[in-house]
Amino acid sequence: MIAPIVEAHAVHKYFGTHHVLKGIDLAVAERELVFVIGPSGSGKSTLLRCLNRLEEPSSGSIMVDGIDLLDRRTDINHARQRIGMVFQSFNLYPHMTALGNVTLALRKVAGKRRAEADAIAQAALARVGLADRAGHYPNQLSGGQQQRVAIARAIALEPRVMLFDEPTSALDPELVGGVLAVMRELRESGMTMVVVSHEMGFARAAADRVLFMDAGLVVEQGPPEQIFAAPREERTRAFIGQIQRH
């Protein structure tokens, strides 16, 4: 078997005395889509943010695409180009157009010239269905469009893995579909993805594996059919029951 793209081992995270991650092991294979679910405060977002070192784990090891993220000698800015991240609140740069948002890292980090960066960014925007919005500022775009620009910003750097932190939670219901469609297309193109989200329909249709986290631990994991229809753990069952009630 090929080595996994993401390999986290015994990851602990404390915020002060608060023990948020209590020894997480996670391996994500190439082209795999892993879904992470769990109640708020279970540590799922913290885990995701450890995977590109936006949060510094207190202990453990994290390898992404063969790079030891926690090694002091690792150039984290170089490593982060290979790890795309999409946030709940989009976090587009309000003073730049959609194109400017996508080209910034291409030019500053990947060292592309303006013309080349523009071409790559245009292609990325076309891929998320926003080729005609390149000159728009974030406040001229809907939430769903903003999130798709944010996805374009990440994929333009050709990451090896994409992390999604509740990408549809801040969206009006009618805008969710467009973002999920882009994520589905990414998945079909073979992108490795780790998704923290409660979009159960999407998880059922697209996920290879679902992780259920509670209180800083992975309680249960398995294919979506198992987790959603026949969970083995009592806590998983209770959680699935709660979210399916509405």
Partner: protein
């Protein structure tokens, strides 16, 4: 002599005004130069301090906060007098122009630092995270993502503060700097007539009214885009 004639003779005496106009004009240009220098050095130094503070080095930040609070608390006149009469005992005797320039720059630096710092901290954390997650360094994020947004927020308060502090150039008259006010009041003593003061006031209006109007224009321009 009617009441109006007496008033005009006292405050708008054309003969006196004509005589001292060249001195007021000299003061005018000196004030313009001084004000421009203070704006440049004060704002630049304030920005540098705010950038250093964003590094989050604790002892350095304590020092910055101490210096900033000190110069925000001291009246500018006290700073001027302290430097002008205090520094010679340290074996260093700056002239009136340098002293006023340095003093007002320090005061503007202190206020500008606070304003820039408020602007930097007002930029949401998510902006830092989005930028860093694509591989930009701390400084690249600060210069390309955070500062452009922070500076837009700081323009209105910074414009106000800059105008207030550059008007402090008049305080240089206390240590004999021959700026507008000083020229006007010595002309008044020599001519036993307050008309030069009116000239001085007019010179201040010519200098600062455009600045105030420009400030208002900048404020509305930047308030609209958001």
């Amino acid at each position: 002599m009617s009441g109006w004639d007496r008033f005009a003779d006292t405050f708008l005496n054309t003969a006196v005004m004509a005589k001292y106009l060249p001195a007021i004009i000299d003061g005018f240009f000196l004030t313009v130069g001084l004000a421009a220098l203070v704006v440049v050095t004060g704002i630049a130094a304030g920005l540098v301090l705010a950038l250093l503070r964003s590094l989050g080095v604790r002892p350095l930040n304590w020092l910055i906060i101490f210096v900033v609070d000190l110069f925000r608390a001291l009246p500018p006149l006290v700073v001027i007098v302290l430097l002008y009469f205090g520094l010679p005992s340290a074996g260093f005797s700056p002239d009136a122009f340098s002293t006023t320039w340095a003093s007002l720059s320090l005061v503007l630096m202190a206020f500008a630092e606070e304003i820039f710092w408020a602007g930097i901290t007002a930029v949401p954390r998510g902006q830092w995270e989005a930028s860093r997650s694509t591989g930009l360094t701390f400084w690249q994020t600060l210069s390309s993502v955070v500062l452009p947004q922070a500076i837009r927020l700081t323009i209105p308060p910074l414009t106000n503060r800059t105008i207030a502090i550059t008007k402090g150039t008049a305080l240089g008259s206390v240590i004999g700097l021959s700026e507008i006010l000083s020229q006007a009041s010595s002309a008044m003593s020599l001519s036993f007539n307050p008309s030069p003061l009116m000239l001085g006031a007019a010179a201040y209006l010519v200098l600062f009214l455009p600045v105030v109007v420009l400030g208002r224009w900048i404020e509305t321009k930047f308030a609209w885009q958001r």
